[in-house]
Amino acid sequence: MVTRVMQKFRLINPDATNRIEKGIVVGWAVLVFIVILVAAALTRFIVGDISAQEFVTEEFARNAGSAGINADQFTFTDSWVRATPPGAMTAAAYVDIRNLGNDDVLLAARSDKARHVEIHTTREQSGMMRMSRLDALPVPADSVVQLASGGHHLMFIDIPAAFVPGESVIVTLVFANAGVRDVLFTVRDVR
């Protein structure tokens, strides 16, 4: 196409051919450059967002709930939910919370997999095992607080669907000082 345009110009004014030719080449180059810029911008707009999400997910999985790229004061390990029998209305979740920052208190937990999530503790009282709700669970500085079977647990109340082994569940933990952390839990069948 470029050649044909140049040929036309040659017919009209052969003396000016060189200058016009150069001008057209530069024009096309600018056009291509603009197209590339627009394409790059579009790519960044579409793909860039996805890769950012992927990055967040990877970071999320690696750091299990860290709220950013920088090291968080909390590390969450062994976070899991007990797979539920059919028809179950409740489920229990467990996690080890390591706090390398200042004293804090776990105040609440939320998940879209249950109507309520409560912090519970199991205790033996006058020959009976009972679980009861805690309004706050202290997470002192430089310590690991374990939520484990037979002790503390996060209690999922009114679950709309069973917890299937292998499934991932995001639980938001609310701390008094450090704010919220999203923690990834894995459903385990421990039968």
Binding site: T84, P85, G87, A92, T122, E124, M128, R130, S149, G150
Partner: protein
């Protein structure tokens, strides 16, 4: 003193000592009860089988279940509730492991495994059936009227309460976490305590079964 005299004294001491020890042993044996020693377990072995009262419950198929339905096999009873997400599933898992261990170590002993609900308001027969069979196909659930459950629980030394929660919107259930062993006549022979661990239970139960067999042979 001559060497012979010293030797004689030693011999006399030895003879007297031996006779004394034998006498003491005889005295000790005579004083010992003739009954089999009760095995030491993580729980209690009942020297006298405890007879269950009559009760009327429902099984997981909503069929009537009475005291006589425990007869014919050994039975293990765990009192709990399906709404419980931590202690009860753990106990059910250990009970399933126990079943496998006993099937291997005591294949001669036929046993049934039950979850008796202490929360019948939520635990319908259907609910308890799907709950117990999740842990083992053969497990059975019992539920029904709370008063009827209470009769069975009380005899098994199980205490349980239902208490409204602080906000009044729900209620909390508390219960003893024990495993009760019934003999094939339906009488309580042993109660195992927390922590209920299948491996410990299996060896404890083996000793209880041996004890029960010897005691019944003596009679």
């Amino acid at each position: 003193m001559s060497t012979v005299s010293k030797l004689l004294i030693v011999i006399v001491f030895l003879v007297v000592g031996s006779v004394g020890a034998m006498t003491a042993r005889q005295v000790f044996v005579v004083e010992e009860p003739t009954d089999m020693p009760v095995p030491e377990i993580n729980g209690f072995v009942l020297q006298q089988p405890r007879v269950l009262p009559e009760f009327a419950l429902l099984d997981g198929h909503a069929r009537a279940f009475a005291r006589s339905d425990f007869e014919g096999t050994w039975s293990f009873l765990y009192f709990g509730f399906t709404y419980c997400p931590d202690i009860c599933p753990t106990a059910m898992v250990e009970m399933a492991k126990l079943k496998d261990l006993l099937a291997a170590s005591r294949p001669d002993v036929a046993a049934e495994y039950y979850l008796v609900s202490v929360d019948p308001q939520r635990d319908t027969p259907e609910r308890i059936q799907e709950y117990v069979t999740y842990f083992d196909d053969s497990f059975k659930g019992l539920t029904g009227d709370l008063l009827e459950i209470g009769k069975l629980a009380q005899t098994a030394s199980v205490i349980h309460v239902i208490e409204p929660s602080a906000d009044g919107a729900s209620y909390e259930v508390g219960h003893s976490s024990t495993l009760t062993l019934l003999d094939p006549q339906g009488n309580i022979r042993a109660i195992f305590k927390e922590p209920l661990r299948a491996s410990v239970l299996a060896s404890d139960i083996d000793r209880v079964l041996t004890y029960v067999e010897r005691v019944s042979n003596e009679i």
